[in-house]
């Protein structure tokens, strides 16, 4: 994959207005800081359960989600924090959820793998790989019946792309012409297994073709590439033009989950990715080199985000645990 060089970038005009650039940067920085901080807090032993970090993949969630509003729905994955943040879920509530607190997005009952906020169109992180694909077909169907112009986006990894649920859903979305986009987050690994081992075909574009779906593959470290491709596909789907597949190729900076020794990676792979495939760095370099955003503005956003995350952690730690009676509530609407 060609690495974008600063000089090449600075020759490109920046295709977005400044407020959107700042918004994009803030979102990506929020995700990054959220994840970096979780990494630190997890190591302290404060955070229970399985935690899968999205750091390195921020441009994908952000580039897609900037085209959506609350009426649009997303179905996410086990690695869902980035999707949540980009879809507008409250960062404080998310943090509290990950700490298992009463004030969490799911009142402490879901945890990292099940953060949801239906009022924001976020239908849930999901511990079952590929499970979001059928669900988002349902969201697309609902939007179609209501004629509200909403679209549905499901995210899944290169590994989950081999789940029958996902494959069936591509066909279903195609024959029903649903306003649904399947976003493959190809970070090269499913847990410790390489995509080259697990997936028979070299290109997910070919796989999409096999389901009658148009597909685009982009460099997922390039926010602008994701934003443009996602924008085109989403606009088309919204207009009744049907579903599509978007592949974003990028790298996860941490292990599969916190605690992963990562020995399946090449020596120096994480360092290389941090240096060369960091979507935040690439974005900041490009917009500052173009002179559209100043380094000071970036620094200000960094500080604002840092304090947001600080506050989130502080509040989460201080928040009350769920009450014992919560064990039995919320199973049914009525029973």
């Amino acid at each position: 994959m060609p690495e974008p060089t600063p000089s090449a970038l600075s020759n490109n005009p920046i295709p977005l207005p400044k407020d959107q650039l700042l918004e994009a940067y803030r979102t990506m920085r929020t995700i990054r800081d959220f994840e970096e901080r979780l990494h630190v807090e997890f190591a302290k032993g404060d955070i229970p359960g399985f935690v899968h970090l999205y750091a390195g993949e921020e441009a994908c969630a952000t580039g897609v989600m900037m085209h959506l509003t609350d009426i649009d729905r997303i179905a996410s994955t086990h690695r869902g924090h980035g999707h949540c943040i980009a879809k507008g879920v409250d960062v404080g509530e998310m943090m509290a959820e990950i700490y298992g607190k009463e004030t969490g997005s799911c009142r402490g009952k879901g945890g990292s793998m099940h953060i949801a906020d239906l009022s924001k169109g976020m239908m849930g992180a999901n511990g079952i790989l590929g499970a979001g694909a059928p669900l988002i077909c349902g969201a697309g169907l609902a939007a179609k019946f209501r004629g509200d112009g909403g679209v549905g986006i499901t995210f899944f990894g290169d590994g989950a792309a081999n789940q029958g649920t996902v494959l069936e859903s591509m066909n279903l979305a195609a024959i029903w012409n649903l306003p649904v986009i399947f976003v493959i987050e190809n970070n090269g690994y499913a847990e410790a297994t390489s995509v080259t081992y697990a997936t028979a075909v070299d290109s997910y574009v070919d796989r999409a073709t096999g389901f009658g779906l148009p597909a685009v593959s982009v460099d997922g470290t390039d926010f602008f590439a994701v934003h443009k491709a996602a924008g085109d596909l989403i606009a088309k789907a919204r207009g009744g033009g049907g579903p599509a597949v978007l592949e974003c190729k990028m790298s996860r900076f941490f292990g599969h989950f916190e605690g992963d020794s990562q020995t399946y990676k090449a020596k120096g792979e994480n360092e290389f990715n941090r240096a060369n495939r960091d979507c935040l760095k690439i974005f900041a370099d490009r917009v500052t080199a173009a002179g559209v955003v100043s380094e000071a503005e970036i620094a200000l956003l960094d500080r604002e985000v840092a304090s947001l995350i600080d506050d989130a952690v502080t509040s989460a730690k201080a928040a009350p645990l769920p009450a014992a009676r919560d064990l039995l509530s919320d199973v049914y609407v009525s029973y």
Partner: protein, 340 residues
């Protein structure tokens, strides 16, 4: 106004009425219309046994034929429900749950809890259950215990057309995910059914026969076998059995069951499912725990055997609990004097 209506047509009518009432009700499933994309008749099938026949003419594109992708379309129903629709998905035979169970077990059933009470998933999954159709091991299972085990699901299994209509209407109006089990060998069974819409609340068992000597608890097709057994017991032994039709397995009406056993002191549970971890063990164990003092004899369970459903009619006829087996179990609960 009521008239004789078959179980099958009662379901059809319930779907029709609810679709008229509520535009968010949609139907999806394999060949529930039938003929999609084909050169002949559009509404060619109305489901594999004709249960949804005619609804396409009335409601058009609110019925969707699906590809043979149960995970995708059952999941789509679940997703649409979480987005405000009231989809009724048909999973032709409940036996097919094996290819799509995750969307029921880990998605529909768990959303509300995992999301801290913030999700509502009013999906209905209709499916055929039960043996006796000569459809062999993969198209004849009961499987109600597996769904009843799952918190977050409601499980319904009516024994007659009246209940089928009222319980299906309730299922559609209900805000939780419902597994609606239709015994394929009841489809032709007719009783009086009112023309208008009515909802039968969940968790209310039906005492279909009063009796003072023994309580027989069942659901679905075997309710009729239990009634036959009760009639024979009355005729031959003067034993009067109270027969309880559970109607809904989750929630289950423990009060009615316990109250009856407190009167009769004897319990026989009849379940077309396999014996282990079944509705039969569920009812027998709960009664033993909650009404031990009232029990005058060991509770008896009459179930299908711990075998797959055989194809050969002679074997299959031995598979479903018979009236004779039920009567035999009742006799095991009564003292010799009474059984004389």
């Amino acid at each position: 106004m009521a008239r004789k209506l078959s179980f099958k047509m009662a379901i059809n009518e319930a779907l029709d009425l609810e679709m008229r009432r509520d535009p968010s009700v949609i139907l999806l499933g394999e060949d529930i219309v039938g003929g999609s994309g084909a050169p002949g008749e559009k509404d060619a099938w109305g489901g594999v046994l004709g249960v949804t026949k005619g609804l396409y003419a009335k409601h058009g594109n609110r019925l969707l034929d699906t590809p043979l992708s149960e995970s995708a379309y059952i999941g789509a129903a679940v997703g649409a429900a979480a987005c405000g629709m009231r989809p009724v998905a048909e999973l032709m035979f409940l036996d097919f749950m094996g290819v799509c169970f995750d969307q029921i077990l880990n998605q529909a059933a768990k959303f509300r809890y995992m999301f801290g009470g913030k999700a509502t998933t009013p999906v209905v999954i209709r499916a055929m259950v039960g043996a006796g159709f000569r459809a062999a091991a993969q198209h004849s299972q009961m499987l109600t215990p597996m769904f009843t085990h799952v918190p977050g699901l409601k499980v319904v299994c009516p024994s007659n057309a009246y209940d089928a209509k009222g319980l299906l209407i309730q299922s559609i109006r209900d805000d939780d995910p419902v597994i609606f089990c239709e015994h394929k060998n009841l489809y032709g069974h007719e009783v009086d059914v009112p023309t208008e819409a009515y909802a039968i609340p969940f968790g209310e068992a039906n005492v279909v026969r009063d009796g003072k000597d023994v309580t027989i608890v069942s659901y679905g097709l075997t309710v009729h076998r239990a009634m036959d057994a009760a009639a024979a017991l009355s005729r031959q032994h003067g034993i009067e059995a109270e027969v309880i039709d559970l109607r809904t397995l989750s929630p289950i009406d423990w009060d009615t069951v316990i109250e009856s056993v407190e009167n009769t002191g004897r319990l026989v549970v009849v379940d077309e499912a396999h014996p282990r971890c079944s509705i039969a063990t569920d009812v027998a164990a709960y009664v033993a725990q909650q009404a031990f003092g009232a029990l005058k004899a060991a509770p008896q369970m009459v179930t299908a055997p711990h075998t797959p459903v055989p194809f050969s009619p002679t074997l299959e006829d031995l598979y479903i609990p018979t009236a004779e087996a039920i009567a035999g179990a009742v006799l095991r609960t009564v003292p010799h004097a009474l059984a004389a």
